[in-house]
């Protein structure tokens, strides 16, 4: 079972609806199915036939210019978006770290938010309880942990959120660009923490724009462009080069 694929993505296609205008949209509801004007684009194809296989314990990096579909791909793997075509199979508990502090409630205390956020990320009360000392120590929040997080500075909130997420022991971890929060010292500690998590048993997919980070952490790196994976993952340097080429190209277009 060691070599088993824990994440298997087969030929995923995902379309996003383009929002229609008010009255036009109302009209479309009643008549759209029968009389759709020719030539109007109603959908944007975010993922166009993406396939991916991740083995247990592997660390995968995904790069790509803005809008390439990286975050969307992670959300499909996490189960947030159901693909329009294709299949996603995952084995084990998937934890997506896209936004820190999902579901944080200002009027609840730090402790209460730890349990709430932990449960949203898929961990039981006992699991959160077990790592509570680590969370408090790592975040460096001290006695404020018993205060409503409304009284926290934004840095404190971010530190608490990161501490919860990074002290959990996930099986399949999807990380979407959340690496820099808090002051310089905390950024350094969180980088180290991510490295620890990645070097542990977890299977990880990291989406990042930082070549250095991915070169350090990842076994395989893929590059995405316009909803497709454009490199084959055998040579990481090829993916980095492709990333540089494509992001240069897309930045040129915006000038």
């Amino acid at each position: 079972m060691i070599e088993a694929n824990v994440i298997q993505v087969e030929d995923i296609i995902l379309d996003f609806p383009l929002r229609q205008n008010g009255p036009a949209f109302l009209k479309e509801i009643f008549t759209g199915r029968f009389r759709r004007r020719k030539g109007t684009k109603t959908h944007f194809r975010a993922l166009e036939g993406v396939s991916l296989e991740v083995r247990r314990g592997e660390v995968l990096g995904i790069m790509g210019p803005n809008g390439a579909g990286k975050s969307t791909l992670l959300r499909v793997i996490a189960g947030i978006y159901a693909p329009d075509k294709g299949v996603v199979r995952t084995r084990g508990r998937v934890t997506l770290l896209a936004t820190l502090g999902a579901g944080f409630q200002n009027d609840l205390t730090g402790i209460e938010n730890c349990y709430l956020n932990g449960s949203i990320l898929g961990f039981s009360r006992k699991e959160v309880e077990a790592i509570m000392p680590d969370i408090i120590a790592f975040s460096g929040i001290g006695d404020f942990i018993h205060q409503p997080i409304r009284t926290y500075s934004s840095g404190m909130k971010a530190r608490l959120a990161f501490s919860i997420a990074s002290n959990m022991e996930p099986e399949l971890l999807l990380i979407d660009e959340i690496l820099a929060v808090g002051d310089a010292d905390f950024v350094q500690r969180s980088q180290d923490r991510i490295r620890e998590m990645v070097n542990g048993d977890a299977t990880v997919i990291i989406v990042s724009h930082r070549v250095a980070t991915l070169r350090n952490l990842c076994d395989r790196v893929f590059c995405m462009h316009k909803g497709k994976i454009v490199t084959d993952g055998t040579d990481n340097e090829v993916a980095f080069d492709a990333y540089k080429t494509y992001s240069a190209k897309s930045n040129e277009g915006s000038k």
């Binding site: 609806p17 693909p83 199979r89 084990g92 209460e112």
Partner: protein, 278 residues
Amino acid sequence: MADSGSTYAHEARPPFFSAPYHVVKNLRNHSNVLKHFIGRDLKVNYHGAVLGYAWSMLEPLAFTAIFYVVFVILRGSPDDQLPLKIMIGILMYNCFSKTFAATTKALTRNAGLIRQVYLPREIFVVSSAGFQIMQLALSLLILIPLMWIWSIEPTAHLLFLIPAMMGVCSVGMGLGFMLAPLQARVRDTEQVVNILNRAGFFLSGVFYSIDYIPDEFIDIYTLNPVAVFVELARVAVYGEMGKLTWDDFGYSSGVAIFLMLFGMMIFKRYERSVVKYL
């Protein structure tokens, strides 16, 4: 099966008839989150209030006092039980209307969270409904002192409060299950729900009890399951069935269960595709 060994695959077609089974299974697997959401809503609702949860009871108590002044003292109504009957009606109907409105908006209200983390989306609907039924249960505690004041003997009929509460809540949640995906697609839905709730208020025996309905209209009146469950709560307090029959109770329970099951089927059929619109 343990979490770590499970395989999760997105099927091309969501289930339809087996949807209630999947909903129950997901809720059991995520009961932790469900409890946290309901607890969070309860805590946040009375956050910072000195009297806290006591407000759930003080509010209906104040209502009763107001109705007493308006109906018994000012209008000289011969029925001095009227304030209590109206209060029960309001609590029960509010639970229905708030559940209906909150579950309809469950997806749009939690859009941020839904886009960030994966949770079975039925959790948002069920936790909204769970919060409302907890609120109702707290509020109904005020019946203890009020029944004492009105010297109403408690009877075994009080147990009817449980199906009555579950009844109003499940009708609201069943309808909410159906409309939540539509609300995600077309935000006008919640406005329509507000109007329906307002209309239902006058059709569900809130300001009058079933005794005021002429006999020839009773059969039509009891077609409305919410009206039956509202009346059932009064039956529970006063300890006599009055004009309500067991048939009404059976029929309304059937409607409530049907709405829940059918609501879940509709919800599971459409929730996946509407996430993109959130």
